[in-house]
Point group: D2
Chain length 260, copies 4
């Protein structure tokens, strides 16, 4: 069965900015989706900020294996309730790929527990993305590096947690570097932050970027769901794996819930 | 100059539960503090839930190098504003040591971005804490393992992010295991989660637990503060480290703030 | 196409020790192989110490996606040349699963760069293996824990590098704990150390152990080979991605090899 | 008491190459040492390839807290016995800082278990070293980045294990990037790989490089030695932490050594 990707697009600058609309006439989410559908083992749906529940209803997320998130101008308009819903799904095992300016999205900051800040410059300069971890599944089939002739610069320090693995590091024409591909797991959910994708440039028309995203969707896919990771069950004395006898003073009455 | 530790105690069960009051007549925070003051290079202050701003005013935190956090019954009563203040200070470089039932504290969940759930049993069983990383500064001077004759059981899976390093793993008499010492960094702040410390047992009267906490305070201490890690400054074209010429369409007017 | 596993067995105690021969009449490698063939997507071959080149010829390794390694009594008899050959293949992308007493095999110590020592006791005691990372592909479909009624004890500290991820932690009846499933990557090759499997007990007849090994083979499989990771090529000035002019004194004549 | 640093210099190009001799008339090891002695809490000794036992006698290493290693032309001339001796000391807790072309030293490859290869170009181009982890002790007091006007280029992929933490990433004028500061622990020993330092350029006359090295020496210092991490002791049944009864068949006679 195909991996079910859901591409979430903020869909604001496409509507308001001519340059962006020119590059992404159907919206960025549609173009990102079209990169994914080049792999017959990935099925694609899209969602936008403007839809009810931002297109992230419980039912929709229940049918999603990997969520891709692109947002920039309207992070604050994403309802907190939806953010918590997405976080919960990630913890249960849904994959999440956060793109570019999504570093400041509520959902990414929520899952990182860190500022997620960086330095930036919008000058259409050259970015060269280097593969520093060629054995990682996300780097499969990639060249040693690839260039994006016009991109926004993001510069270090990127105040995120130390990742499980660093997959990409970017060189910028103006003199900065950036860790452009970073992996995490939160609960049972795999997370990739992937840097490129400023909306005024045709990054999501780039074939290598497409390959990265398809690789990432497959890497992030966890076929299982682990709702139990959100619970804190009591194991009563008589169900302990080894036989023990209760001792000492107690706070909790038998059968009581733990404190949260 | 001494490392300035602030021991935060919820101070609820000490007031309400006779068993807890018997073990910790001055409150758990005072007893934890007394373990720290055995090291002349650590100075200790305390704070409790009941104080204004929970004892965590801006001024107090500005004078704190490492915050220790013990809470259980009243996580929900900690004001969100204070939680954000503490998170911000950690990101800037204040150390944080989260104790036992603090795994469900707002501040720990905030910084982990994960459920932080586990299995538990309150039966006064034996816990044996094993040092799995003897070269880590937190393990300095410790024996290969140490026993707590009566403790609450915490069992895996502990749904936290993969740590920077695992320092301790606990064995429980009832048959479970738990990763009892886990290190993280968020922003410039060092974080340790340390498992032992159920309030109905005399864990914070244990000499080896004291040694762990003193080691941890010193390890977590970062003499610098990095407020810049919370900001996302623009680097204009004319201040780029390498000379570049601006190209392509732009979203941002010159000198404009970035979007959040 | 199926993942091609090669199960390497030392095949010494099976020939010399009645108890081992009774449990593994065809050799441990055959029994481990039979666990793997339960998955139609895995094809299995075996190799032993006694074969020419220990069954690890260049041709055989070229046809191997994932190598499983069980050895104990005769680590020293494995030729250094074969160890280097296997290490090289791992760096290029072959997966490696090191089992139980293989912690002291030449190949594991070679790839870890660490002592790989531990404490031990052969008393047929109970081991309970806990899944601490349920979202990891190696833990797919597993229960929260599983028991091996008779196993050798391995105790911490296990002097290996901090892993990419800890997947399993074991509880032992005699009071010790051990990190039983640890993942690494060296070059492009994925490595799992998996603890259970003392030869005097029927561990490789256990269905859950079989599930772990099948999961591990699939996780460790890298379809690519990265021979370039062993080379240190010069990038001449005229092939630099950005145009630069050579400056300053030089050690190396144009076109010379680097120093090793 | 001061941290006792031992600076090991290969001391070959200083003797044979005029450009190198001009920059480092007393040898690179002396100049590196002079950077360290700017900190009164560090005491410095030096050692070279040409000394008996390469200046790394058991006695010398026993008095060393942190070893710094610079080599390039003569890696192969370092005796294997000395390499094993140094590795053993690192495992026991001696710190190790590997500099520049030391990525191909026997000791670094021994401890990494990986190819440690990279791409390179000797063109005197500009390197800009960015701090990606400002909260790390090795980055203390550093600016956001620092420039070395003439350096050798090292390019990714750098085939080393994923580090505990990435501290620095370098930008090169010719278009490449490199992870220039990577931390590891092997046994109880802290290890830093730090990239800059090609012998034909005055890198070790740079004040910021000096600050990095002083920070690194203090970070790498472990006051304890853990010789026990190299041993694999048996814990007999009657000394098990919990009372157990021996069961099942056995390989090992009582009191026998384990197999290696």
């Amino acid at each position: 069965m195909a991996v079910r990707a859901l591409v979430w697009g903020e869909n604001v600058h496409e509507q308001e900015n001519e340059a962006v609309a020119g590059i992404y006439p159907q919206g960025m989410h549609q173009q990102i989706g079209s990169l994914l559908t080049q792999d017959p083992d990935i099925s694609v749906a899209t969602a936008t900020l403007q839809e009810p529940e931002h297109g992230c209803s419980e039912a929709r997320l229940a049918e999603t294996d990997v969520l891709l998130w692109w947002g920039h101008a309207a992070h604050a308009e994403v309802e907190d309730e939806i953010v918590e819903r997405v976080a919960k799904r990630v913890w249960e095992g849904m994959g999440l790929i956060v793109l570019h300016s999504g570093h400041f999205s509520k959902i990414f900051k929520r899952l990182m527990g860190a500022p997620c800040a960086l330095h930036w410059r919008e000058a259409g300069e050259r970015e060269r993305v280097w593969v520093v971890n060629p054995g990682h599944p996300i780097a499969r089939g990639l060249p040693r590096c690839f260039e994006l002739e016009n991109e926004e610069m993001y510069g270090e320090p990127f105040s995120v947690p130390e990742p499980l693995e660093t997959v990409f590091v970017s060189w910028f024409q103006g003199g900065e570097v950036f860790r452009s591909g970073l992996t995490y797991r939160r609960g049972a959910g795999n997370i990739l932050y992937f840097r490129p994708g400023h909306e005024t440039y045709p990054t999501y028309h780039d074939a290598t970027v497409g390959q990265v995203l398809r690789n990432a969707v497959k890497w992030a896919h966890n076929p299982e769901r682990h709702a139990e990771l959100l619970k804190a069950p009591n194991t009563p004395v008589d169900q302990a794996p080894e036989k023990i006898v209760e001792r000492g003073p107690k706070l909790h009455a038998h059968g009581a819930e733990g404190l949260r």
